[in-house]
Symmetry: C2
Subunit: 454 residues, 2 copies
């Protein structure tokens, strides 16, 4: 009887603690994140000293070394580098001049699309034709397109509330435009930058060539210059464009994912992955995309160690390499996990910017999703409200086949595409509190998912 | 029987319409706001051509003229100016040099506090003493303070999630610091800027002198220089500060509230007021505080007229003058309303910045608040979630006595104080979509409150 009472009271005490504990822990996590500048300072370093760290570049190597040290500094139990095969693409000279016998001359603000082939140094000169979607290409056919430069000028649909939906509705011009135009004999494509902003920053991003298609040069033009080009073409449809883009693809090379982990106290052989991608476009400081996601993952480790939070499962911060071009960082990480027979419980990606947190998306349904949505109540004091069905991100997607719950960190999206993939993605665009709130939200969510076995 | 059926079917039809209509109208309001640049262009004009439009300044006069025309352009049924008595305070030469026999010399980034008295052109030179609250003043007493400059250096509590709460916890140093220090014989005060940011922008704001107190000069110092000054004082407590601030108070003058209205279709003699304040600190472009609130109020009128939305009550956009110094714009507006016996149904203020909308606060309780909170469901498609108890704002507060429901527009607050009352409050800090989302939210809320008689 004595023994039963003792056990009962232990259960009651531990339950009492449990009801209090998560709220207290979350409060400590937010306090720590909001009063410490380590993550912000890490981001400043990545932006100012490893700017343009596209996979295969010397800047990427420097970022790998820095974040490895940052993870050690954060107190990770183990830190290591994981080999990743990556493409090696290098931007060249870029120039785009419009010449009209009616209107005169104008140089456009352009940037080559990632992985695109280039022109020679003399470049190409040609007539240009404006289209808005692939249907128009079909209508124009070989006759209308062959030998010309195709100008894709479909803008974002500003009526869409979520900026990522607007991006989703426009981005095939950038990813597939060169291939589609090439089918009809186009000699190059100029794509309106993927942004809602009207300014003079051209936004790069990857383009992909379909098999057995003549690979043609592809560049993005700033939205203001896209508007101007379109206007000029209305006045003078016969204007000429001279395009130079001497970017080149070199043989694949080797880079690394950077991984740091906190050992699980109860189930060390189950893993929870939290990551962003360490590579950034060569023209950007990569603050918003995605230095922020990287320093938030490192910050989670720092906070757990500082506050003595011991997750049951092993929690990893993974800074993926080469998300921007061919996502080999994420693929390699999942392949290695499979090869080793690792159990991957959940994975969270922070790659939608570092604005104020709205919440999280979960790739789950039914009772599983409902359980995850009950977590919202813990976040009410922090004004984090959205616990919706949705996706994780491209780096963690390959872990889905291993059973890992896919989680996306969702900050406010309204101004994200002002910066994305452009020289306007700088450290100065990040507000320290918005970054810190995100770090706290991520560290808290992972703590709760592990604690409650969700 | 025929007649009853006809009436019944009319009721059913109108109910059917009603259930659909608000959602459709809100959708049109958001579409219109998100695809039109008028509000953003109005804000650019206010920032770039009426910069520093503190009440009584020539820039304020220009802003009055511009926004009057903007309201006419928006299609307001009537537009008029309402006389407002305002103070006339003018900044002078400002200089603050620290001299230490140990550390050398350093000029600090300072700005005079609004309505503060000045020094003469030679300025004052004195020892300085650092305090963090009024209790410390009491402890130091006359003996510790008399003849010295008091340096208030209490920073924001970064652990507070809502930045306005952090501001609330620090701002009495700015508003009352001079009066409190003067009681103990201080000859001037230097106040740490009211911001969480660590940078070199000094932030101004109003200071108030208690009656029968010797009015002493008051300036704000940038947070980075506050940190530096504090460090220097630790090394050399005997350092000297030389302070010049030749600002002056002149006799009161006259300015105007700018008012535009859409006549009510059913209850034209009941009013709903939507406003921001047109004045801005003399050192700022006043984009965030509060050009944004003004152009959102004008935009509501434009949207109603463009879409043919006919509110039952008369809806007014009111651009209040002189919120920053003595709030006479709001007081005058309410006094006039009382004098004329106007019925004021509700009033909304947008003066917490122009970041992405979180929601609204209502000064209501019980069933009234619960009814207002049901409005949240209409805003779910726009990710606007917060419908909480709270306040409106200082310009509409005097309307409370007339029975007007007080409503505050609540955007995300995290980065607000980076800009507030400083030269960093510029047009470039505003994202067009965040501004537009706010305009749509405000126009939608007022439409629903009027429609449902909430």
């Amino acid at each position: 009887m004595h023994k039963i009472l003792a056990v009962l009271s232990l259960i009651l005490i531990s339950r009492g603690l449990k009801a209090q504990e998560p709220a207290k822990i979350l409060s400590s996590v937010f306090d720590e994140a909001l009063t410490d500048r380590t993550a912000y300072n890490n981001l400043e370093y990545l932006c100012k000293h490893t700017k343009g760290r596209i996979a295969g570049s010397p800047a990427a190597e420097k970022a790998i070394e820095y974040t490895k040290q940052a993870l050690i500094g954060a107190g990770a139990d183990t830190v290591w580098l994981q080999k990743v095969p990556v493409p090696h693409w290098v931007r060249g000279i870029e120039k785009c001049r419009v010449t009209s016998s009616v209107l005169g001359r104008k140089d456009l603000a352009i940037t080559a699309l990632g992985l695109s082939v280039g022109t020679d140094e003399k470049g190409i000169t040609s007539k240009i034709i404006e289209v808005h979607d692939f249907e128009e290409l079909k209508t124009l056919g070989l006759q209308g397109i062959q030998g010309k430069i195709v100008f894709f000028n479909r803008s974002f649909d500003n009526k869409l509330i979520n900026s990522f939906s607007a991006y989703g509705g426009a981005v095939n011009q950038r990813t597939m435009g060169a291939s589609e135009a090439s089918r009809y004999g186009a000699i190059a494509v100029i794509v309106r930058s993927m942004t809602q902003s009207l300014d003079n920053f051209p936004h790069t991003g990857v383009t992909r060539y379909a098999d057995s298609i003549n690979n043609i040069p592809a560049v993005a033009v700033s939205t203001l210059d896209a508007e101007l080009l379109s206007q000029w073409m209305k006045t003078d449809p016969a204007l000429n464009v001279h395009l130079v883009s001497t970017c080149r693809n070199y043989p694949n090379t080797l880079s690394y994912n950077v991984i740091g982990e906190v050992y699980g106290s109860l189930k060390p052989y189950e893993y929870i992955t939290v990551g962003g991608h360490l590579d950034a476009w060569d023209i950007a400081e990569g603050a918003i995309d995605d230095g922020g996601g990287c320093v938030q993952a490192i910050e989670m480790i720092r906070i757990y160690k500082k506050l003595g939070i011991n997750p049951k499962r092993t929690v990893r911060a993974v800074l993926f390499m080469n998300e921007e071009m061919t996502s080999t960082g994420g693929k390699t990480y999942a392949e290695e996990a499979k090869r080793k027979g690792e159990v991957h419980y959940a994975a969270l990606e922070s790659d939608r910017g570092v604005m104020s947190p709205l919440g999280f998306e979960f790739d789950a349904d039914g009772p599983k999703l409902e359980k995850l949505q009950t977590l919202a109540s813990w976040f009410a004091p922090y004004n984090i409200r959205d616990f919706d069905k949705g996706g994780g991100g491209s780096d963690i997607a390959p872990l889905k086949a291993l059973g890992a719950l896919q989680i996306g960190y969702i900050p406010d999206s309204q101004r994200y595409f002002w910066y994305h993939h452009s020289a306007n993605d700088t450290f100065e665009q990040v507000n320290i509190r918005e970054l810190q709130m995100g770090s706290a939200a991520i560290a808290s969510l992972i703590y709760l998912i592990d604690l409650f076995d969700l």
